[in-house]
């Protein structure tokens, strides 16, 4: 192939050479045209043209500056800092004569202390669904097809200072909570959850410290999508990463401190996350809030460590593992239960292609007793074709019937297939079919349509 291409190039070159020779023969004035005098004229013309281009560009810049005068009053401190950064009083035109330019951060700090202006930036996410399935547990009424309001998420951030920032997810959510199979609340009421509430100090690339309520760094999904269905390809999270109040098995949220950053590792792109928090409420069954926001049921703290890599040579690839440890003290048991969650993930995610793979095992060991292991995994793949993105996911969780902490989980496994259509840059329509096998029950088939959006 390369040889043929070389021959072709060689042949083309020869033909060009012969054409040039023919041109010379046909045009007797060419020698004169190639004379030094003509080249001098060309240089002068070229320089004149370049000069003219410079003049025109200078004129365009003047017109642009006239067309874009001072920006409207910014709504955030960042914008105010940036507006002041653009201000002609600090502009390069004065720089030449000034040895000591005023430090812009001092000006920004003063702007931040201006109580007449807000420091908040708010972004919203929401979704509305139509869902139906054939789930019909024995002795209970089955699910009805219904329109369902999803989470209304107000994502609030504030650039407090150069080193500190704040972020929060305030979620308005309809429907009852379902914690360890126990339903709490009424069907159609709205509740408000502060799902994340985090103050972060950023020292440098390698060390950031956050305090507050965060999403535990177990695996990939939990810290990649948070409470936005619009960002997710599918209509919902994998069963493994379902929220606590929707029957999920993991400590999705935690209250405590976390440190994170990158590790000097060249093109391997290593990162770490280390967390210490209250852990998850462990009474079983419970009807209280599973996230221990105010009080902890033990003095021992949950710890979590995650290590992952993002090789710079393969953009979009991430792989890593995590280990979570806590001691649970369920009221239904006279003894404590050691909890260990080991997870691993390999993810390849680009704008056009996504392949997510995660597996974990939750180990519960009552003191002096038998260890119960609950394995779970999912694999999700999708590819974008213009505004359409078909996807497929298979997921699996298998808990022992005697599992002391997960009495309601048992077996849940099956595929999901769907199609996402991005109707605009901020609105996505999704249609998803789910098939879930259950232990000792009929399998469940469900169909869900969703419109997810950001605003």
């Amino acid at each position: 192939m390369g040889f043929s291409r070389g021959l072709l190039i060689h042949s083309v070159r020869r033909r060009v050479l012969w054409l040039a020779l023919a041109g010379i023969l046909i045009s007797p004035n060419l020698m004169q045209a190639q004379s030094g005098q003509t080249v001098t004229v060309d240089q002068a013309t070229m320089q004149a043209l370049l000069k003219r281009i410079d003049q025109l560009e200078a004129r365009v810049q003047q017109l642009e500056a006239a067309q874009h005068p001072a920006a409207p009053a910014p709504a955030s401190v960042e914008a105010r800092q940036q507006q002041s950064a653009e201000s002609p009083t600090h502009g390069p035109s004065q720089a030449a004569g000034q040895e000591h330019e005023p430090e812009p951060t001092e000006h920004a700090e003063a702007e931040r202390m201006d109580v007449s202006k807000t420091l908040l930036r708010i972004r919203g996410f929401g979704d509305v669904n139509l869902h139906g399935d054939n789930y019909h547990p024995a002795g209970q009424p089955g699910d009805k097809t219904a329109f369902t309001l999803g989470q209304l998420n107000l994502f609030v951030t504030s650039d407090i200072s150069d080193k500190f920032k704040f972020l929060s997810e305030i979620v308005f959510e309809a429907g009852p909570d379902n914690i360890y199979g126990v339903t709490r609340g009424t069907e159609n009421t709205f509740g408000v959850d502060v799902e994340r509430y985090l103050l972060t100090y950023s020292q440098n690339e390698y060390f950031n410290l956050s305090a507050g309520r965060y999403h535990t760094a177990i695996g990939y999904y939990n810290t990649a999508f948070h409470h936005s269905t619009w960002l997710q390809t599918t209509t919902g999270r994998p069963l493994l990463f379902a929220f606590e109040d929707q029957g999920g098995i993991l400590p999705i949220h935690n209250v405590g401190v976390e440190a994170y950053g990158s590790i000097p590792s060249g093109s391997l792109g290593l990162h770490y996350v280390a967390e210490v928090g209250n852990g998850r409420e462990s009474r079983s069954p419970i009807t209280d809030e599973p996230v221990q926001n105010i009080v902890d049921d033990s003095n021992g703290k949950a710890i979590n460590f995650e290590l992952f890599a993002r090789p710079t040579k393969v953009p979009g690839l991430q792989f890593g593992f995590s280990m979570y440890r806590d001691k649970l003290v369920p009221e239904t048991l006279p003894i404590g239960v050691r909890e260990t969650i080991l997870s691993a993930h390999v993810v390849y995610s680009t704008p056009n292609f996504e392949w997510l793979n995660e597996a974990l095992v939750v180990r519960h060991t009552p003191e002096g007793g038998h260890t119960y292991e609950t394995p779970g995994w999912y694999s999700q793949i999708s590819k974008r074709f213009g505004a359409y993105r078909p996807y497929f996911r298979y997921q699996y969780i298998n808990a022992s019937p005697n599992e002391p902490i997960f009495p309601d989980i048992a077996l849940r496994a099956g595929p999901s297939a769907g199609l996402r259509y991005d109707a605009s840059e901020s609105v996505a329509l999704k249609l998803q079919y789910d098939f879930t096998s259950l232990r000792n029950q009929h399998s469940v088939q469900g169909l869900e349509a969703q419109v997810g959006f950001t605003f």
């Binding site: 940036q82 653009e86 999508f225 704008p351």
Partner: protein, 167 residues
């Protein structure tokens, strides 16, 4: 019969007489089509690889080596300079990049969303005033108030410079 030797003589003479384009003009032409990456003069960074530049403009890197927080400065969507950066550095579409920034803010990886400015003058002034800022301009829009950094070891007037503006 003597025609072909005459042609050869003509060709050799022509080749000797034709003056190649001066190097300064070649560089000027390259400058016209290059996209310069600029930082504040206080920033000690002199060179970034394309891979590093990508991590910077995707928000995957938050601080410079001197501890300063990185602040991205972008020109408005639709301008050739921005189109070049989004396509050749970020390697994605404009809407994908916006989505990426939003997700980065949600995950906390992106500390501050990029600042968008309308004019090259605004970009230059911003980078001049904010120590951790990084932006991009056509070389003719750059003056001594900011610093052009090398990309993969090359400056905009080098033939191997990887960022070329496509109008």
């Amino acid at each position: 019969m003597i025609r072909y030797p005459a042609i050869i003589v003509v060709l050799l003479t022509t080749a000797a007489l034709v003056e190649p384009m001066p190097q300064s003009l070649v560089q000027a032409a390259r400058l016209k089509e290059s996209l310069a990456i600029i930082v504040n003069r206080e920033n000690p960074i002199e060179n970034l690889s394309m891979a590093e530049l990508r991590t910077v403009f995707l928000g995957e890197r938050s601080h410079w080596a001197n501890g300063r927080r990185i602040t991205l400065v972008m020109m408005e969507p639709g301008q050739p300079e921005r189109d070049t950066l989004v396509r050749d550095v970020c390697r994605m579409s404009e809407s994908d990049l916006r989505r990426r920034y939003l997700q980065g803010l949600l995950t906390g990886e992106v500390l501050v969303s990029p600042k968008t400015l309308a004019s090259p003058v605004g970009v230059r002034k911003f980078v001049f005033n904010v120590p951790g800022a990084i932006g991009y301009l056509r070389p003719e829009d750059v003056d001594d108030s900011v610093k052009i950094i090398r990309i993969d070891g090359h400056l905009p007037n080098d033939a191997e410079y990887p960022l070329k503006i496509t109008e």
